[in-house]
Symmetry: C3
Subunit: 245 residues, 3 copies
Amino acid sequence: MFKATIDASLLKDSIEILSVLVDEARFRISPDGISVKAVDPANVAMVSFNLESGAFEEFEATESEVGMDLTKINDIMGVAEKNETVKLELREDTQKMEIRIGGFSYTLSLLDPSTIRSEPRIPQLELPAQVILNGNELRKAIKAAEKISDHILLGIEDEIFYMEAEGDTDKVRIDMTRDQLIDMKPGDARSMFSLDYLGDIVKPASKSNEVEINIGRDFPIKLNFVIANGGGTANYLLAPRIESD
Amino acid sequence: MFKATIDASLLKDSIEILSVLVDEARFRISPDGISVKAVDPANVAMVSFNLESGAFEEFEATESEVGMDLTKINDIMGVAEKNETVKLELREDTQKMEIRIGGFSYTLSLLDPSTIRSEPRIPQLELPAQVILNGNELRKAIKAAEKISDHILLGIEDEIFYMEAEGDTDKVRIDMTRDQLIDMKPGDARSMFSLDYLGDIVKPASKSNEVEINIGRDFPIKLNFVIANGGGTANYLLAPRIESD
Amino acid sequence: MFKATIDASLLKDSIEILSVLVDEARFRISPDGISVKAVDPANVAMVSFNLESGAFEEFEATESEVGMDLTKINDIMGVAEKNETVKLELREDTQKMEIRIGGFSYTLSLLDPSTIRSEPRIPQLELPAQVILNGNELRKAIKAAEKISDHILLGIEDEIFYMEAEGDTDKVRIDMTRDQLIDMKPGDARSMFSLDYLGDIVKPASKSNEVEINIGRDFPIKLNFVIANGGGTANYLLAPRIESD
C-alpha cells in the first residue's frame, strides 16, 4: 500500500529531476520513502533520486514498485496552484494511482514496471576532485557555453575551477577561484561533456544553493544536490565525451 | 445611424465571446443596444449575445444590421491600452465602421450581412437541472480534462455535480457538492460534450463570477453568464456528443 | 588597441540599432569613440551610428576597424544581468575580441572588414519638413498600421502630421497636431514607406523620448535619436516606396 500527501511544487521539482533524462520511471516505494534509479535511452547519463518519508506531509507505505509516465504526471501537476498539496494513493487491485489536487481527482494507470528499462547499477567512482557551487551560477555558465558549442570542458588547474567551451571560431571560459566557490577539493580534473545533457541536468540543479560536482580526468562527472530542505537527494552521473583535438 | 462609445476591454471581451465560435458575425443594432446570434460552421454550438445601450458610455442608434470581421476588430483592439475607450461610428453611405481609439482612427469595411451565415433559431429547451458556479473554477476543471481526453461528461448524481473525462487509460473527475456551488437545482442530468468546444466557450465564461449551466440527459447544455456588470448577457448552447461505451 | 568598459544594456541597445538592418557590421574605432555606417542588403535603408568615448565607463583606443557578427554579440549579451558592465578588449595579434561579463570571458573571432559590405555614403538631404515626437507613440502608430497594410504614408497637411495606412478594404490614420508633437517644422511632405523596414527601425527608436523625423515629398525619411543620455546618436535613412494609386 501507498498513501502520501506532498507539497505540489516539491512533487513537480522531483518529477523534473527524472524527466530531463527519461519519460517513464520505476518508483521504488518503501516505508522509508521513494527512490528511483534511471538511465537515459542512450546510456550517457544516470540519475539516482530519493525522497525520504519525512519530506511528505503524510506518508504510509509498504514495499512496492510502480511504473509511471512522467509526462502524464507533469501534465496533471499543471492544475496545482501555488502552495497546494497533492494526495497520492495507490490502488493495488486496479494498478492505478489516484492523484488528488484540490477538488480534482485523477486516476492514472500505472505502467508495468517490467516494461520499463531496469534500474541501472550506479558505478562507485572515486573521483579525485570536487567543487561545490551555487546551482544558478552553474546554470548561467552552461547557458553561456550553449551559445557557441555543443560540448564543454570542466577542469581544475592551479586551484581554479574552469568551464570552457569552444565553437568553430569563438570561445567562452568561466574561471572560478576558491573564493568564488562554496568549497573546493583540487585534484587532477579535466573532462569534456555534452551540453545537450549537461544543459538538461542543470535545470533542476539550478534551484539548489549548493551543487556538488565530483570530477576527474576523462572520467564521468557526478553532480549531487539536496532537495526538499534535506528530505531527499538527486545524483546525476554523466559520461564524458572524448576530446578530439 | 449608429454612434457609440465603450470601454475598450468590455468591447474586447464581447468580441471574444463571439470569436470562439465564428470569424464573422451579423450585429443587430437598435436603439436598445446590440445583439448577435451565431452558430459555428459545424452546427455544434450557438451563441446568443446582447449588450444593452446602458453598457455604453454613449449610445445613439436606429435599427440596422452590420456584418463585421471579428479577427480584424480584435487586431485593432490590440492598440487600446488599459482604461482607454473606443468610439464607434457607422458610415452608412460607404458601409464602413469608423473606430477611434486615442489618436488612432480606423476605417473598417463592413461585410454584406447577406454573405454571413444567417442567424440561427435558438431552440427553447426545458432542461431539468441547473448549477451555478464560478467561471474560473469551471475553466480549471475543463483544462484538467483536456489533459487526458477530448470529451467530458457533465452530470448530477445524489446532489453532486460532476465533470468526468476519461482517456485511453486515465481518468479525471471533479465532484462539486451543493456547498461548493453557488446554486444547484438537481435533476436528471448526464451528457457528454466535446472539449474542443467547451474549452473555447469557457475562456470568456471564466471571467464571470457566476456561470449558469442548464443540463439534461443526452441533451444540449446551456451556459449563460452576465457581462458588463449586468449590461448584457452571453448564452451558449452546445450539442451533446453521443456516448459510445 | 582598443579597451573599453560599458553598461551592458547600453551595448545591447546599440547592437539592436544596427541589427535591425544588418547581421554584420564594420566598427570604426578611434580615440573619440565608435561609429558604424551600414546599409541593408536590399539597399533600402541605411544606419549611421556613433557612441562617443564619454558614453563608456572606460575607453582607450587607437584608430582601427573591426568586423563583428551582430547575432553573436547579441547571443553573448544574453548572459548579462541588469546593471552589469561589459569589458571589451581587442586582441590585435589574433584578431579576436575579448568580451568579459561578470566571471565570463568570451573570445569572439572578428570578421575581416573587407568581407563586409563597405560603408555606404550617407547622402546629404535637405528635407523640407520636420517633426519631433515620442518614440513610443511613433511605435504604436506603426504597429497599428502593420495590422492592415505593408506600407504607410507619412505627411504633413495644414500643420497636422499624419500617418496613414490602407489595406485592401480598411484604413488606419493617425493625426497629430502641433500640440501632440514635441516640435514641428511644417513643409511639403508626403512619402510612403515599407512597414517591413519602418517597423524594424522604430523598435530601437521607441526607447527614445524624442525622435526627430525629417521628411519631404516622395523623398527618403531621416529618423534620428539620441542614445546613451546624449553620448551617441542613431540616424536612419529609409528610401520611399512609390505610390501606385
